[in-house]
Subunit: 325 residues, 2 copies
Amino acid sequence: LKTKEPVSQELVDSALRADQQSIARLMTLIERRASGVEKVLAFLQHRTGKAHIIGITGPPGSGKSTLVSELTRRYRESGRSVGVLAVDPSSSFSGGAILGDRIRMASHSGDSDVFIRSLATRGALGGLSRAVMDCVTVLDASGKQVIIIETVGVGQAEVDIVRTAHTVAVVSVPGLGDDVQVIKAGLLEIADIHIVNKGDREGSNRTVAELRNMMHLAPPSAQSWSVPIVRTIATSGEGTSEAVGWFDAHHGWLESSGELKAKILNIAARRIQWTVDDLVSRIVTSHQPHFLELAGEVAEGRRNPYDAALALLQFIQCETKEDIH
Amino acid sequence: LKTKEPVSQELVDSALRADQQSIARLMTLIERRASGVEKVLAFLQHRTGKAHIIGITGPPGSGKSTLVSELTRRYRESGRSVGVLAVDPSSSFSGGAILGDRIRMASHSGDSDVFIRSLATRGALGGLSRAVMDCVTVLDASGKQVIIIETVGVGQAEVDIVRTAHTVAVVSVPGLGDDVQVIKAGLLEIADIHIVNKGDREGSNRTVAELRNMMHLAPPSAQSWSVPIVRTIATSGEGTSEAVGWFDAHHGWLESSGELKAKILNIAARRIQWTVDDLVSRIVTSHQPHFLELAGEVAEGRRNPYDAALALLQFIQCETKEDIH
């Protein structure tokens, strides 16, 4: 569970001064769970809590990354610094995440107040959710005023990640198929703001009407926030100022209603759960020989998965008594 | 962690005789982790290992459920019994999974050798993956000769589930956007068989050509299986016999090459891991008051998530010493 390179205080200090390369380096060390990362995160945690965390999600093909780029532009125009974490469904051999970063960065290159990072969904899932939240901590501590988490709105893990934002925007787009409608229904409950992107497309009025209908079908909420529907054309930037206005309005409402406090408690709970999952998963794989032996027994039908899992769990207590990181 | 209703031996026996309602009831008890479920699964495990497990995945809008229905029809024509587990990205309030079941069942109603079940992606993810595999165990033990696991090909968890099949078919469809291409690239590595559905659509030749190109870009595999591309029109059933032929060919190759054994070992390992995740998650939530207290401390910045996770893990050893289920 240890890696050679420890995290230096210089690196942390310069990340706190919002140095782009240091932030990037720190995130890489977090993804690798380098030695000392836990202490650094505990240290950074005390410097967080100021950022507005926004989640943006929607089906494939809804133009999310262009939209995020344009929203970033609007925030910059209002003088706010922005961090973007894009959770990309990418291939290990196509190197999608890295390629994605380059394309995304291009339109904001040279702006030291914009930091963009793609995180590939490859690898352990508990690990990914945890890594995203730790990267939010880094961006928040480095002084980014707005942090955007972007995920595709399919896949429970991806939806769970975006729900850790304060404000969730669900992106729809006219003219996608029935399957996509089902997915949208699943996302309906988590939307604080609806964005109908590609608003100049045929059928966008129908999409807006459908959203309104679906919202009326939802059980009435005890909360007083009324979910707005914003129409955007991300490619031209149209409607993105209005969207930012609604994000700000939602944040104001969260604060005045007391909902923000409840949300932060909920986020903390998820974060602990994901950390537990990640730690357990790493302990299990660190007992590789024993794990493989058990897998062999299960494969041959000599043991059932439940007994094997119990056997592995016996190791956890002694591991957690030592220092895990 | 206990629920009132235990699983009766009568229910298990009648599920083993492939009684539809008993299989359905048993699966519900598994999803709820009713008392005695672990023992039942251990018992059923000894009766498994005969089914050919097929995974079918692809982007939203690729017509997977129609395709699965037609493949089921082909298998039935060749005299084989079929179980289908569809992992649906559905909403809790739209009741998508249940609705989906009804629509899916309609075309095979009255056929006691077809069992179809939708599993909603709601709830704990470790729990879902585990539940899917346990449902495979039930179907296998009940004598289903072919088991199809259908998931949307976006979302790491959904892809991970489908990878537990012996044979994975990735469904593409002509004319989807760039985002979908990226997703397809991510799925390319897991395909044993490619299916280009809606093969009568404009652009299907291009889709086939693109797939061939992408396959040439992939690192050469040490394995001797050459991935075929099958064109189907699910709505008319065209090409589905050919697809079934390739599934059978792949299964034959798995057996003769020795790959099946490696695959089964791998599946066992994942299954143990998911069971560990699920058990740990249930232990954590069963310490709700303590968990909430820790979440409160993290939310207020008095503790970091890592320390909170370590504190929770201290409980696991004593829990696993008792009987968990």
